[in-house]
Symmetry: C2
């Protein structure tokens, strides 16, 4: 799957993933009104608003970017109707040729991690039949429980030719509370990064592993170190845009060949119409505003990569 993602990055010339993290605050009023008039102010109504919003976004950006990353929490909050739209969004994005990274940050042990891996990347056996529950292409995984939590994901990645991104150094201000603590004089995230590199050996694609890492754009220096510790790991970089990361912060996450990283932006793209810069599109032009924001982000990253020393 990492080979397919890289191919898509090359063909779009955009190492960008759009985070589909819909909250009602981000969804244009006219969409909410249409959904509520059909289903009322209910979980079904909210889920329908999310679906209309996502469909417009996917249609507007699917030729520009290689991938989308729906954040499952935003769907889980709307219960079963929300999770039905999570599933529908995954299916629709794949139909449109997008790679889908399920931002689920799951992690448990043994048979439980296996069930998560099956739910998001694999197939569950029921009697003589097999079914996929959510069927993302990649999933994000939390490493706190160690190898017992990660190995069931590796197994499913091998069987299904899928991939994972493991949290190493997250983009949030307090990520250092545990991740930066020094272990034998080195921060914990480096130790986790080393394990990511080891786990990745079992799931290699052509150049990169199907086991990638999450490292926040807000920590460029840490990104530089981790890039070296995990030379075969693709890095999923959150924190660009709304969280404060800029193009120039990103260069350390890439290899010399311009590959090795894919940068996420969520609100900065999907709610671009709420920013002054894209206000001219208006609420009804939210999808065109998202498209314009992707074009600007692509340019920002290309310039940063072109001007690196």
């Amino acid at each position: 799957m990492i080979d397919h993602l890289i191919e898509r990055i090359k063909s779009t010339n955009a190492p960008i993933v759009v985070g589909l993290d819909p909250t009602l605050k981000l969804i244009p009023q006219y969409i909410q009104k249409a959904a509520f008039s059909e289903y009322g102010e209910t979980l079904e109504g909210a889920a329908d608003a999310v679906w209309r919003y996502n469909k417009g976004l996917i249609d507007a950006i699917c030729d520009l970017v290689p991938a989308v990353k729906p954040q499952v929490a935003m769907y889980e909050q709307f219960g079963l109707p929300g999770l039905a739209v999570f599933h529908k969004t995954i299916e629709y994005a794949k139909q449109k040729g997008l790679v889908v990274i399920g931002d689920v940050k799951r992690g448990d042990i043994g048979s439980t991690s296996e069930a998560y891996a099956v739910a998001h990347l694999g197939k569950v056996r029921i009697g003589s039949k097999e079914y996929s529950a959510f069927d993302e292409d990649f999933a994000t995984v939390n490493p706190y429980l160690g190898s017992d939590g990660v190995k069931p994901f590796l197994k499913v990645c091998q069987e299904e030719k899928k991939g994972i991104f493991i949290l190493v150094k997250t983009s949030n201000p307090s990520s250092g509370e545990f991740q930066d603590r020094l272990v034998d004089g080195r921060p914990l995230y480096e130790i986790v990064g080393e394990k990511v590199a080891q786990w990745g050996v079992e799931c290699m694609g052509a150049e990169y592993s199907n086991v990638g890492a999450v490292v926040g754009a807000t920590y460029p220096e840490q990104g530089r170190v981790l890039r070296k510790i995990m030379p075969k790991a693709f890095i999923l970089v959150p924190g660009y845009g709304a969280q404060g990361g800029k193009g120039a912060d990103l260069v350390h996450f890439f290899q010399e060949d311009g590959l090795g990283a894919i940068v996420n932006s969520s609100r900065g793209i999907i709610a671009a119409y709420q920013q002054e810069k894209y206000a001219r599109y208006g609420e009804e032009g939210y999808a065109d505003a998202a498209r314009a924001a992707v074009v600007d982000m692509r340019e920002d990253i290309a310039q940063a990569l072109a001007s690196r020393p």
Copy 2:
């Protein structure tokens, strides 16, 4: 919510939570056959088998134990029908007077953690209305992302009078890979335990905090230390039974007053009928076997607590 849980532990005299972690391997054949004959070998059929199985278990044990802990991964693998049964199981267990700990191990940052907290413990606002998505009483939370990930849960706990259990030292063999790494000469799980104690101050019940911790029965010595570091945290103890933890290992997790911990057993109870010890109940007596296993577990813990030095 912690006060209510403690009250239920006192009235049942059983510091026990039964893990409702259904896989098809554990569910009696006659239940699977009945479900598949109605819905086919489909996700709906598997979910219906899980529901029949859970209902039988809940009916059999609801007067003996204070709480159940459904593991969401086991439901997620069956997609939307599975998650519908997760929800139905939570509702049914609460109707039967049980406290429900959602074993979801969620954790993210900012608005995303807020969405998880809302999904599992809180209410989501849709226009002028509010809805609960899954509405567990407690949820388990992964701490790797630090305070940014935990605080949205604290806020919802305060508003909704609910609780969380934060992973500190998990029961699995490889939990030490990161959790045991020495930070300033002390294992990381102690640092996490200190933060749990700090976070807990904001969510106190009468004697204990609504912020508890997960510490595996398989690590009794670590449990002893953590018991002191987090004097107000209730400890949720997995790893008893099938994972190898014994009654005598548990005593360090409890306080002098016999409170302070609640011990989970999943397979050891819900699939007791598959053990030689309870084979006499047969497949059709799986619920009675579970009941017998709870009685034995209660006795094992009571004896261990009575005979501690």
